[in-house]
């Protein structure tokens, strides 16, 4: 098991830990600059409407108000979006969700800004809200965008499913529904935007990819990219939710216009209203097996509610479809999916990236097929598991991995599974309404962004003038422990010393392009980049040291603080080396490994997870409690044990919310809640029970990829495992999340008897 004791000296204090426990670490929303103005945003009150007119005169006249901006004041492109730029910075003609921005205000005080917002007069012609993908697909429905209401449509098939269903011994057909989950990063969106004396603009605002924000902000402001500096770490949580721009365009525009620093920090209510969410999906699956349990045919149809704008909706759909196949082999396949525009907020990137929804459905199919055929559910999975050198789900070439079998075996051997097979039921004699049950699930997830999205990598290592070894990447620290993993990698694997290192991230002026901190890709990318950079860098250091000390060619080594001879005799310090000659810099760029073939999704490097749980269902209240969980994760060598454990625990917590309580309910395009009192994320009470994590580190011999990203996989297997455990406990099948307690409530026997005497 992965824990502090089993990790020994690899369990380390994180480089960013001290600042976090003392409160000294200033987040970007904690920054203040002398003379800062308050920035606020006026958002649409309607889910769908045409703007007839905007009048800002009265707002501008409020004392203390320095700027009131509308679409007319956007000097550059009035659009943003990571892949497709279709979201207006400030809406000019149509508003498509209740978070759409119509005007932005900068004022000396909160009160003045608030008053100004109230005085902006916008006349709307209200349209009928399109509040579901089904409505959006009606041929006579109003179009949200010029190309219609379908953001993306994907189809893929192999063989002939209809013919194969004819040969199946058992077929399960089921529709699954998953909720609109909210990220609930504890730090809401915000930042500080500072016009500098040299004419540049410094943006302090959390994002998962500072360089990408820089491009987008430059386009909006119509200034060269070099005129903008984005500082983007540390971040108080993101989980995918801060990858897309949020308040940055407004802060930047207001600072540009007023020439004064501007602060914006969303209230929770505004964060709920404007922020992206996880895609609600309706997934239909029809799956058939032969009498031996082999899957002959699998048919999938996904309908995703992507909300008002594209952001990464298309890519999430692609990944959902890839994951609708899991880690099994199929004779015949037919999969199809649509991501559809509606007026329901905006759905986008969220940890798991569509896999959470798909795996819930797929594993639900496996459990139902097991019940139907009488085959043990885990055995049924075992029969259909892919083998080490099998191609990917779409027949694309992938890097060999036996992870699926490894985690499958680990789960089988786990104490929870043993306990289940002994069929231990904790019956509490005086509480017969408490039922316990067991369930398990397995998943396989691609890392990297897959086909269609630029997936760059790379980094820089250099000797700074003060003699520190600077290692720079364009990645961000939002709590996942990137800095800790990087530091440990540099020390353990590349032989550098903690005291000599300076890690540089989160500042576009100081980092090279390494791509986005997303899709569980950063650990692998750092590993690959350092594998090339460090030997080259050491070579350059040794050459410089030899030249400086006039040494003949011979072996040198790197010690703490400087270069040494093989026997340990110091040659020179890093500081001396830095002072004495040409700057020593190594930089490289590369791309995340991608499959050489395949029709779409093209992922190449995969990680797997298997999960077993025990739950308790209270049939009086319908409430489910997670009592015990075990996770086996195959992600290659563990980069940082504390981070690995924390990622799986944290992801499991999010998955628990997704399964039992979380749903950003919307009614007619409006959120039915505004804060964390009505949107319930798990508390310590929900997660104080036993949990064990096992890391399976085995990789094929000569593996070049090192530690894989495990930040997302932990969030996908819990929901189906709990669903199965609920069935095991109560006989009730769950196909919609979050689990509705009413579904599990039973009126006790004695009550029924009292009402209906025999």
């Amino acid at each position: 098991m992965l824990n502090r004791a089993s990790s020994g000296s690899r369990w380390r204090e994180r480089p960013d830990g001290r600042g976090k426990v003392t409160g000294e670490l200033a987040y970007l929303t904690d920054r203040y600059a002398e003379g800062s103005l308050i920035g606020r945003i006026l958002r649409s009150p309607h889910p769908f409407a045409r703007i007839k007119s905007i009048d800002t005169e009265a707002a501008k006249a409020v004392p203390g108000v320095l700027a009131v901006l509308t679409h007319e004041d956007v000097p550059g492109v009035n659009r943003f979006g990571i892949v497709i730029q279709d979201q207006p910075v400030l809406c000019e003609d149509v508003v498509r969700y209740v978070g759409d921005a119509v005007a932005a205000v900068a004022a000396e005080t909160d009160e003045a800004a608030e008053r100004a917002l109230g005085l902006i007069r916008v006349e709307y012609e209200v349209y009928e809200t399109i509040s579901s993908p089904e409505e959006a697909l009606r041929p006579d429905g109003r179009k949200l965008h010029p190309d219609g209401n379908v953001l993306k449509h994907i189809q893929y098939s192999k063989g002939d499913v209809e013919e194969a269903f004819g040969r199946c011994a058992h077929i399960v057909e089921q529709t699954y529904k998953t909720p609109r989950q909210m990220h609930v990063y504890m730090e809401t969106e915000g930042g500080l935007f500072v016009p500098e004396p040299d004419g540049r603009l410094t943006v302090y605002s959390p994002t998962q990819h500072g360089l990408k924000d820089r491009v987008q902000i430059a386009n909006i402001l119509a200034v060269p990219e070099e005129n903008i500096r984005v500082l983007s770490s540390p971040i108080g949580g993101s989980f995918g939710g801060k990858d897309e721009l949020n308040v940055q365009p407004y802060g930047a525009l207001l600072a540009q216009r007023t020439g004064r620093p501007v602060r914006i920090h969303n209230s929770r209510a505004e964060s709920v209203r404007a922020g992206i969410k996880r895609h609600p999906m309706t997934i239909r699956m029809k799956t058939g097996i032969d009498s031996a349990g082999r899957i002959l045919a699998h048919k999938v149809s996904v309908l995703a509610d992507t909300g008002a704008y594209a952001t990464l909706g298309g890519e999430v759909l692609t990944n959902a479809l890839e994951n609708s196949l899991g880690c099994y082999v199929y004779e015949n396949l037919e999969i199809e999916g649509k991501s559809v525009f509606t007026n329901n907020g905006v759905s986008g990137e969220f940890r798991g990236f569509g896999a959470n929804q798909a795996i819930f459905a797929l594993e639900g199919q496996m459990d139902r097929l097991a019940e139907l055929s009488g085959i043990d559910p885990w055995k049924l999975r075992g029969i259909n598991l892919r083998k080490e050198n099998d191609p990917g789900a779409y027949g694309q070439e992938i890097y060999p991995t036996d992870g699926a079998r490894q985690v499958w075996r680990a789960v089988l051997a786990s104490s929870l599974k043993q306990e289940e097979s002994r069929n231990r039921q904790d019956v509490i004699p005086d509480k017969p309404w408490i039922k316990t049950g067991y369930g398990s699930a397995i998943a396989m997830m691609g890392t990297g962004l897959g086909k269609g999205i630029p997936d760059p990598g790379g980094g820089r290592i250099s000797l700074a003038p003060d003699g520190q070894i600077e290692v720079a990447f364009s990645y961000e620290e939002f709590g996942q422990g990137l800095l800790a993993a990087l530091e440990l990698m540099l020390i353990e694997h590349f032989g550098l010393f903690e005291e000599d290192l300076r890690l540089v991230i989160g500042d576009t002026d100081r980092v090279p392009e390494s791509g986005s901190s997303t899709a569980a890709r950063t650990t692998t990318m750092m590993w690959l980049a350092l594998g090339k950079l460090v030997p080259e860098f050491k070579g350059k250091l040794f050459d410089a040291a030899r030249e400086r000390a006039r040494l003949p060619s011979g072996q040198l080594t790197l010690g703490q603080g400087g270069i040494r001879l093989e026997d340990g005799t110091p040659v020179c310090t890093f500081a001396e080396l830095a002072a004495s000659g040409e700057p020593i810099v190594c930089e490289m760029s590369t791309a995340f490994p991608e499959s050489p073939n395949g029709d779409f999704a093209n992922r190449f490097l995969f990680v797997q997870a298997g999960t077993a749980v025990r739950v308790e269902v209270n049939e009086l209240t319908g409430r489910v409690r997670l009592l015990d969980q075990y996770h086996a994760v195959a992600g290659g060598p563990v980069a940082n044990p504390q981070g690995f454990l924390g990622q799986i625990e944290g992801a499991s917590g999010m998955a628990l919310g997704f399964t039992l309580t979380e749903n950003a309910v919307m009614k007619d395009g409006r959120y039915a809640f505004g804060n964390l009192d009505a949107y319930l994320i798990p508390t310590i009470v929900d997660q104080s029970k036993s949990m064990r994590v096992e890391a399976i580190e085995e990789v094929p011999e000569g593996d070049p990829y090192g530690p894989r990203g495990i930040g997302e996989i932990g969030s996908v297997t819990l929901a189906p495992a709990i669903a199965q455990a609920i069935w095991n406990a109560t006989g009730v099948r769950v196909s919609e999340l979050p689990v509705d307690p009413a579904l599990l409530q039973k009126s006790p026997q004695y009550l029924q008897e009292a009402v209906q005497p025999k």
Partner: protein, 171 residues
């Protein structure tokens, strides 16, 4: 007869209290919250703002040793009180034992809930050095963390209980 204008009344009063052992005074209105005095006026940004409705605990501080949500506490209620924020928890040279435990066990990830979490744990242990799991659950259920799944936090609490108020590892 009302003899004050709204502005005069709102411009209001002065808060005099003690924050982290130092006497402070701040201009407040009747609606000023303690959270904004701490963050905006005093620049002590270790205390975080997240829900502002008393649900998440990110804004937790000690007022006369008791944990309170500073987003729900009116500034005028704090006159004459002793307030401790996360910045005032550590000693001159040593971290508070709870901080030390969080550091060692990795009881944080993004760290945004951490100051509030640590304040709550410190307050709990000051009152009850050996809480049961049930007591821990009850005491800590007002502090939300979205990153850790509470695993690291529970290990940190366990460690802090073992430490029994000792910060020094060698001790």
């Amino acid at each position: 007869m009302i003899d004050q204008t709204w502005a005069e009344r709102a411009a209001g009063s002065k808060l005099e209290c003690e924050v982290n052992g130092k006497a402070v005074s701040a201009e407040i209105t009747p609606s000023t919250r303690l959270l904004s005095v701490i963050r905006e006026d005093l620049g002590l940004t270790g205390t975080k703002r997240s829900c502002e409705i008393g649900r998440c605990g990110a804004c937790m501080v000690l007022v006369d040793g008791k944990p309170v949500n500073s987003c729900l506490t009116m500034a005028y209620q704090c006159s004459g009180k002793k307030i401790t924020t996360i910045e005032g928890l550590a000693g001159e040279e040593m971290l508070h034992p709870v901080q030390q435990s969080f550091l060692e066990e990795g009881g944080y990830q993004c760290g945004y809930c951490t100051p509030g979490m640590i304040i709550s744990v410190a307050a709990m242990l000051a009152e009850n050095p050996k809480p049961s799991m049930e007591q821990i659950e009850e005491h800590m259920s007002g502090n939300l963390c979205r990153c850790t799944g509470y695993g690291g936090i529970l290990r940190s609490i366990e460690r802090a209980i073992e430490r029994g108020g000792q910060s020094d590892d060698r001790g």
